[in-house]
C-alpha cells in the first residue's frame, strides 16, 4: 500500500469509472444519485433541528420529552431517519456547555442538521476538541466559554447521535416559534457557537 494524494481530476475520473461499473451492474442510477443529493441539499438541513429547538424553548412539556428521548420527540414533528435513528439531546445551561464530535470518523445527526460541514470531519477538530475544547472554541471559533462553565464533550463512538439544545437568547420573550427558530444556528446545535441574539 502506498500513499497517494490524488488531484481533483484524478478523483473525479475514479468516481466516474466506479459509477459506470455500478450503473452497468444495476446497483446505481444517476436518477437515484440526483434524488439523494437533492434531499441533503434542499430538504434535510439544520432548519429542522432549529424548529425542534424553538419548540423546546416555548413548550416545557415538549422540552422534557426531547431531553428524555430525542428520537421519539423529534418523531412527533415528523423529523428522524438516516444517521439519527437514536438521538440524545443535551441541554446547555449557565453552568454547563456541551459540544459534539466524532473522533473516530464523522458521525453527525443528519436528520436534524443535514450533512456535516467539512471542518467537523477534518482531523484538526476531531483531534483537539476532546483535549483542549475551551481553547478550540475560543481560538478557532471565537466563542469564549468562561472557566467557571463546565465543558462536556460528547464523542459519538456508537450509533447514538448527540446534539445540543442551546440556551434561549435573552430578550426573546415575545417571539413566536418561527422567529425563535431563525435564531438557532447549526453551530449552536453542534456546540461551537451560541444561538443568535434577538
Amino acid at each position: 500500500m502506498t500513499a497517494t494524494v490524488r488531484t481533483q481530476e484524478e478523483i473525479a475520473a475514479r468516481v466516474k469509472a466506479l459509477e459506470s461499473i455500478l450503473i452497468e451492474k444495476g446497483i446505481m442510477t444517476t436518477a437515484a444519485v440526483d434524488r439523494l443529493v437533492e434531499i441533503y441539499e434542499n430538504e434535510v438541513g439544520p432548519q429542522l433541528g432549529a424548529a425542534v429547538v424553538a419548540k423546546a424553548w416555548t413548550d416545557p412539556e415538549f422540552k422534557a420529552r426531547l431531553l428524555a428521548n430525542g428520537t421519539e420527540a423529534c418523531a412527533e414533528m415528523g423529523i428522524g431517519g438516516l444517521q439519527g435513528e437514536d438521538m440524545v439531546v443535551v441541554e446547555n445551561t449557565d453552568t454547563v456547555h456541551n459540544v459534539i464530535t466524532c473522533t473516530l470518523c464523522s458521525c453527525y445527526p443528519w436528520p436534524v442538521l443535514g450533512l456535516p460541514p467539512n471542518w467537523y470531519k477534518d482531523p484538526a477538530f476531531r483531534a483537539r476538541i476532546v483535549r483542549e475544547p475551551r481553547k478550540v472554541l475560543g481560538d478557532d471559533f471565537g466563542f469564549d466559554v468562561p472557566d467557571s462553565v463546565e465543558i462536556r464533550v460528547w464523542d459519538s463512538s456508537s450509533e447514538m447521535r448527540y446534539w445540543i439544545l442551546p440556551q434561549r437568547p435573552a430578550g426573546t420573550e415575545g417571539l413566536d416559534e418561527k422567529a425563535l427558530a431563525a435564531l438557532v444556528t447549526r453551530d449552536s446545535m453542534i456546540g461551537v457557537g451560541a444561538a443568535k441574539a434577538a
Binding site: 444519485v33 483531534a127 483535549r131 463512538s157
Partner: protein, 236 residues
C-alpha cells in the same frame, strides 16, 4: 486497529479551518461519491461497521490529506473488490478512460423505481443499529468502570485515548450491533451500550487537562470492567 483515524487527543494538526460558507457538495464527484454509499450498502457491499473499517485501512498519509468523500470512495472500492463485485483492472482501465475523456458519458441506465423508493425510504426510516437481545445488562448508571487496555488489530470503536481509563456510566441505551464483530465480518452479536463520563484529568493528566472539563464516550459492554476501588475507597 491502532490507526491514524483514531485522532482523539492527537497534537500538531494545526487550527481548525473554517470557511465562511461552503456548499454541501464541493465538486460534482462528491455528489456521486456521497450517493454511492447508500446504493452499495443496499447491494450488500457492507454494513456501517465494515464501511468504517474499510476507511480505517487507507494509507494514513492519504487518509489525513485527502478530501473527505475520497474516504468513502476508498472503502466502496475495497469492499467491492473483496466481494468480487468490482474488477480492479477494469476499474483502472475506465479511470484512465475518464481521465483522458472527462466529459465522456456514463453508460445508459435503465429506470429503477425500486431504487428511487429505497432512497426516500432509507432517508426517512434510517437503518437502525438497535438489536434485541436477552443479555442482561451487567452495569447501570452511576457504576464506575474501566475501559480495557487491549489493542485489537481489527475494527473497534475503543479509541486509544479512553483505553485503560476509568469513568462513570452516565447513560444506558440498550443493545446494539457490536462493531468488533460486525465490522470484522462477524454477526451482529448485539451488546449493551453505555455512555461513560470521564474527567479531562483522568484522560490527559492534571497538568494538561482542563480542570472543568468532561468527555462522554460510548462503550459496548465487552469494552469495560468494574473499576477497582481506590485506596481511599478501600479504607472507607
Amino acid at each position: 486497529m491502532n490507526g491514524v483515524h483514531d485522532l482523539g487527543g492527537t497534537d500538531g494538526l494545526g487550527p481548525v479551518e473554517i470557511p465562511e460558507n461552503e456548499p454541501v457538495y464541493r465538486a460534482e464527484w462528491e455528489k456521486a461519491a456521497f450517493a454511492m454509499f447508500s446504493m452499495t450498502f443496499r447491494a450488500g457491499f457492507f454494513g456501517i461497521d465494515a464501511f468504517r473499517y474499510g476507511i480505517e485501512q487507507m494509507h494514513p498519509a492519504t487518509y489525513l490529506l485527502s478530501p473527505y468523500y475520497e474516504h468513502w470512495l476508498h472503502t466502496i472500492e475495497h469492499h467491492g473488490i473483496e466481494k468480487g463485485m468490482i474488477d480492479e483492472a477494469e476499474l483502472d482501465r475506465r479511470t484512465q478512460h475518464y481521465l483522458e475523456n472527462p466529459d465522456a458519458p456514463l453508460p445508459a441506465e435503465k429506470e429503477d423505481p425500486d431504487l428511487l423508493a429505497f432512497v426516500d425510504g432509507v432517508v426517512k426510516a434510517g437503518a437502525p443499529a438497535g438489536r434485541p437481545s436477552d443479555k442482561v445488562a451487567q452495569f447501570k448508571v452511576g457504576d464506575r468502570v474501566t475501559v480495557a487496555s487491549d489493542v485489537p488489530y481489527g475494527h473497534t470503536r475503543k479509541a486509544k485515548y479512553v483505553r485503560g481509563r476509568t469513568g462513570e456510566i452516565a447513560l444506558a441505551h440498550g443493545t446494539f450491533i457490536y462493531p468488533d464483530s460486525a465490522g470484522n465480518g462477524g454477526p451482529d452479536a448485539p451488546e449493551h451500550v453505555y455512555t461513560v463520563k470521564f474527567t479531562a484529568e483522568e484522560l490527559w493528566g492534571a497538568e494538561a487537562a482542563d480542570p472543568n472539563g468532561t468527555v462522554y464516550f460510548d462503550v459496548w459492554e465487552p469494552y469495560i470492567t468494574p473499576a477497582k476501588l481506590t485506596t481511599a475507597e478501600e479504607a472507607a
